[in-house]
């Protein structure tokens, strides 16, 4: 259990570090480009594409992080009944549905990545396209996993656990 706990914490840290790297990249690269234009340098030809890809990766990493506490945008008609028992069960049910939907998407996106691996298409800097796409199945798998855990344990269990980073709000 202790090993799993440490592994989980390490993965959370990795996720955070990855996020910070992406943020630095999508701020840094455009600014670098502006300066190169200012000084008449050629700049990096691949920077625009890299930043756009960075936005995709940042967004999906953000979506993974949002699912740590199931903070995705939803219609909150029932939130006034938050402390009732049946609300908890409805929530577990919707978490389970979310997990299943994300698992289906992840599964089919793995198929897409494998197909593109086979075609050998290239993105910028000769980077294989399938590597650029990798975040999509990965993110949906992680989101599915987190919602599945929330469906099994109930949200309260995760909200208060410090090893899950606690609640930020």
């Amino acid at each position: 259990m202790n090993v799993l706990f440490k592994l989980h914490r390490a993965l959370l840290r990795l996720e955070d570090a990855f996020l910070l790297t992406l943020v630095a990249a999508i701020i840094g690269l455009p600014v670098l480009q502006i300066f190169s234009r200012l000084f008449g340098w050629q700049g990096l030809l691949w920077a625009d594409q890299a930043v756009r890809l960075g936005v995709l990766w940042l967004a999906l990493t953000g979506a993974m992080i949002a699912s740590r506490h199931q903070q995705h945008i939803r219609i909150d008609l029932l939130q006034h009944f938050e402390n009732t028992r049946w609300y908890g069960w409805i929530q577990r049910f919707t978490h389970l549905c979310t997990a299943i939907i994300c698992a289906i998407i992840s599964w089919h996106c793995i198929g897409l990545v494998r197909a593109d691996y086979g075609y050998g298409d290239r993105a910028f800097l000769d980077l294989p396209l399938w590597i650029c796409e990798l975040i999509i199945p990965l993110a949906f798998a992680v989101i599915a996993l987190r919602f599945a855990v929330a469906a099994l344990l109930g949200q309260g269990a995760l909200k208060n656990s410090p090893e899950y980073g606690g609640q930020h709000e």
């Binding site: 701020i27 940042l58 967004a59 953000g62 979506a63 029932l78």
Partner: protein, 427 residues
């Protein structure tokens, strides 16, 4: 069959299934019935990386979260009070104008009420406005600014419509220009209402002091350039919008972390994580809705909707009235981003066939959804206000009613007189 599936989706959405999952599920079901391979959703999601204009969105969200975390709101209120505090009703006008600016810069995330409202609510009462009046003013003011750059819903609308590639073309800059007059109109109407409803109230004013102005200017010296850089950069066309957003994010980070030192390096990762949560939620919804909107268009649903609407409505005026009512209802249930990504692909083709310019349509959409922030059951500002100021939700709703009605009058002007949106754009 379709009715049953739709009903199921609506029930799931109302039960609290995250909206990205609702939209994704709708898309997957649609693919299944149209014999499209489900992996196409991955191709559609990858289009996020092919949308240059989308780059601005995360950058402005980051800048907004960092700004909201600093004491920028204090300096903004101090400065405007030093400049306008001597005017009768000066503080109410300050409240409205600074709310509009702050909302535009921090996105539509409720930060305005939390950061600015906390300063303005007690200040308004201390100069003599009633508690109810102050509450209503701050709560409704918190939704102003949606139509001003760099507000996130405005950017989302622009990107969404440009993706669809329909109707008269326009640039994002034109859309940003279009929001200026409608915002001014709403501020003027709200200010007029405050003055009229408080015409018998005795209000305290503070004498004008050049020293206070100098002090406030000096305190805000690093932030004052920000609106000029952003607005000048975008309206003046010096930079591309995404470059502008990167410069803004970097500038805000340097100013708040290194110069004012109000956001510590230790807290920065946590703030960025919150920003990323917001970025992820919004762009994920945007991504799955790209897939859904293609499906909607392929299945000619807008045409069917148009045919159905034409059974009842045959003029642009009638259509706009119907649109207003529908958006007010939707705005009361859905949050602004989901309402945009779900409804725009359906309505844009219909609106075009009634000869409504996409820029004007966007302004109508956002002005409408802005009022949705103030209408129960899901009006976000009501809850934030109730929570922040420790007031029962019923009294917040009661305090907001006159302001919401004034905004409705503004909405009517904006909807039925296209000039407000199109004045700077030409025919």
């Amino acid at each position: 069959m379709i009715a049953l599936i739709t009903l199921g989706l609506v029930i799931l959405a109302l039960a609290g299934l995250p909206l990205f999952a609702v939209i994704a599920l709708t898309t997957l079901i649609g693919y299944h019935f149209s014999d499209i391979d489900l992996s196409v959703i991955g191709i559609e999601l990858y289009r996020i990386a092919d949308t240059p204009l989308l780059v601005a969105l995360p950058l402005f969200i980051i800048a907004g979260y960092v700004l909201a975390e600093s004491k920028a709101s204090h300096r903004l209120v101090n400065l405007s009070q030093a400049l306008l505090g001597w005017l009768p009703h000066g503080l109410a006008i300050i409240a409205l104008v600074s709310c509009a600016f702050f909302t535009a810069f921090t996105g539509a995330s409720g930060a305005t009420i939390v950061a600015l409202g906390a300063l303005l609510y007690p200040a308004l009462q201390s100069v003599g406005y009633t508690q109810r009046n102050s509450l209503g003013l701050v709560t409704s003011g918190g939704s102003l600014g949606l139509l001003l750059v760099p507000s996130l819903p405005l950017i989302i609308y622009g990107v969404l419509v440009q993706q669809m590639n329909m109707g008269p073309s326009f640039t994002l800059n034109q859309l940003f220009l279009a929001g200026i007059l409608p915002t001014l109109l709403m501020i003027v109407l709200l200010a007029a209402w405050v003055m009229w409803s408080n015409r018998h109230t005795k209000l305290a004013t503070q004498p004008f002091s050049a020293k206070a102005v100098r002090q406030a200017l000096w305190a805000a010296r690093w932030e004052i350039p920000l609106p000029f850089v952003v607005l000048g950069g975008i309206y003046g066309g010096w930079f591309a919008i995404s470059d502008m957003a990167a410069v803004t994010a970097l500038y805000v980070l340097i100013v708040e972390v290194a110069l004012y030192r109000e956001v510590s390096l230790k807290h920065l990762p946590g703030i960025l994580e919150q920003a990323a949560t917001m970025i992820g939620s919004i762009i994920l919804i945007f991504g799955v809705s790209l897939a859904l909107s293609n499906l909607i268009i392929d299945n000619e649903i807008p045409e069917k909707l148009l045919a159905w609407i034409q059974l009842y409505v045959d003029s642009a005026l009638g259509f706009l009235l119907l649109l207003n009512v529908a958006l007010l209802v939707l705005g009361a249930i859905l949050d602004i981003f989901s309402a945009l990504v779900i409804v725009v692909p359906l309505i844009l083709p219909v609106a075009l066939s009634f000869n409504i310019h996409p820029v004007h349509l966007g302004i109508i959409f956002l002005a409408n959804l802005q009022i949705g922030y103030l209408t129960p059951p899901v009006g976000m500002n009501l809850f934030i206000s109730s929570y922040r100021f420790n007031q029962p939700i019923v009294s917040v709703v009661r305090s907001v009613i006159p302001y919401a009605l004034v905004l409705l009058v503004g909405l009517a002007f904006i909807t039925y007189i296209p000039w407000f949106s199109m004045a700077f754009i030409g025919p």
